[in-house]
Symmetry: C2
Subunit: 109 residues, 2 copies
DNA sequence: AGAGCTGTTGTAGATTATCGACATATGTCC
DNA sequence: GGACATATGTCGATAATCTACAACAGCTCT
């Protein structure tokens, strides 16, 4: 955490999967949603977003479909696969484990 | 968080500063302490540990002094500087901000 | 018709943190 | 003398994210 980053490294997949689990949507909207739900704290740059989505798709955790967005432009809508749902649960468990462990070190007497 | 890592990327400085703040000690002992306080969840590899210590020292956040360890071997004991104490507070604040934000996304309805 | 803004997807290169593997030395115990 | 735990360190690889760029499509205003 040398310089204020926009994300905690390694948590982007978790965030994206979580947002899609709440409601399937397209990349740009996912980034917006993360920002909004985190109270403007978390910001996903495009250079991180799209590679991450392709990565998740290649792993079979999400699936894409071209549709028209609310603003009438073409957009790729992503939905979770079954494997993706499993993966999300794992990511959450991992996050709880690690962040909990850090909090122990930071807060323990 | 693709593959189970031993750390959350970006939190190593925080962990090290925190341990030294609790009690000045040498590198190897710091790694042990992190592992033990985190219930074996967090593991710092030597390839991460020593570069991190040198980084922190160069930034003026910690200072080194050669002494004999409890087991009678030469060891570099690190202590926090004033700047290091300030830095630790910043790191904690940053961690709380970011981890809190992630929890919002993960846990929000 | 054109300018400019917002939405939308994408890629390339640089940066940086951590890891894995290796190298080296010393004190203790058998 | 040998094995083992303690202790510090470096090097190269890997992977995640960022910055900066490119492109295009609707919408609105003039």
């Amino acid at each position: 955490m040398s310089r204020p980053t926009d994300l905690v490294q390694g948590t982007l997949d978790l965030l994206i999967l979580r947002i899609i689990a709440l409601e399937p949507s397209h990349g740009w909207a996912i980034a917006q949603r993360i920002k909004q739900m985190s109270n403007e704290v978390l910001q996903v740059q495009q250079g991180s977003l799209y590679p991450a989505l392709h990565r998740l798709e290649q792993n079979g955790w999400i699936e894409a479909e071209w549709k028209d967005s609310e603003t009438n432009r073409r957009a790729k809508y992503y939905t979770l696969t079954d494997a993706g749902r499993t993966r999300l649960a794992e990511e959450i468990a991992q996050w709880d484990r690690l962040s909990g462990a850090i909090n122990m070190v930071v807060r323990e007497a």
